[in-house]
Amino acid sequence: MLILIDPADSRPIYVQIMDEVRRGLMVGTLAPDDPLPSVRQLAADLRVNPNTVAQAYRELERDGVVHVKRGQGTFANEVGGNGRQRRAVAREIAARALREAHRHGVGAEELLRAVEAAARKSNGKDDA
């Protein structure tokens, strides 16, 4: 798994790190019991404050996404039936799309129809 952040993103850095770990678990690049990079390593790689990394890891631990083995580091958890996680991510993406739509004066109904149409088109392509 690769943890990447974007300083221009509106989400705070620690949230971006948390989202990256969750994403890794969802797409399978991070397997249960895989170690996460150390705070020192990740802070140096991302050029971020180590406290920010520590905060992200702390919150992930509290959410049950990772666990800490004393003296060994932080490890990914078995996230049983990650349907709840998937729904949370989907909601987040939807909220972002809605904000973007509103910015352009596009209503929710209109957006929903457009998403369905786009999905049909992309599915059709996949089938072909």
Partner: protein, 310 residues
Amino acid sequence: MTNPLPTRLADGVMAVNTRGLRKRFGAVEALNELSLQVPEGAVYLLIGPNGAGKSTALRLLLDLVRADAGSASVFGLDVVADGPAVRANVGYVPEHHDWGYGWMRVHQLLAHHAQYFSTWDQAYASRLAERFDVDPNRKVGDLSKGQSRRVHLVMALAHRPPLLLLDEPIDGLDPITRDETLGVLAEHMTDSPTTMLISTHHVDEIETMVDHVGAMRDGTLRAQLPLDELRGGLHRYRADVPDGWSGVPSLNGSVLRRSQGPREVQWTVWGDERAVAEQLTGAGATVREVSPVSLHDATLALLNPKVEAA
């Protein structure tokens, strides 16, 4: 206009604490009632236009400049009365490198420096010198701005001081070395607990390291607050407005920046996001977008010399 922004932090253990500092150089008022608070363990970014007094404030903490009024302490030690003890706990990267001992070779200067700091870590100094690509045989007086900055970074970090005062630490460095420096600082923070007070114009690059911000203008603080608080309280609102829009008088004083086109306005406002949006909507605007501001944009907003009407 009254300043809507907070300039005092909540009480806590401060690494740097200054109270009502004043300093005048001839006709120029360099510091005017400056009260900095840098909490222990913070990475505090001091922003401000050229001549705002940032360098003077840092130099004052080393007793290189003495205040006309007010007092300053570092880890509870007075910077004048306990100057030597303060300086033993500070790593300093100066803005200008015109600093004497120009006849020395770099390795001589490092050896000289090492003798003055009881906690000097020679192995770490060598590693840093290698990472920063410092040539030990160059003459100190012949170093370019960037090279001398790197030598100063080695000298400031290698004794692992509890406080780092970094005056434009990445200015004059090439993009790759700038990036490398931030990586070194991040590692350094993990390995040895450090408070950092950084003054720089390279806000974008250092943004991900920072957790506190102080904005200086004309020798005084316009804002001083944790970055989270700044992010939570400062937003950019973009809205369509009807023809003949007359503004939102209730927001006067909280608007830090404003740009207007036909039937559209963008404000950078300090205040509760929902309350501000409601006031804009109540005045007839259709808010299209509320976005958090980057530190770069926050800098422009906090230091905006213009008084903006809503």
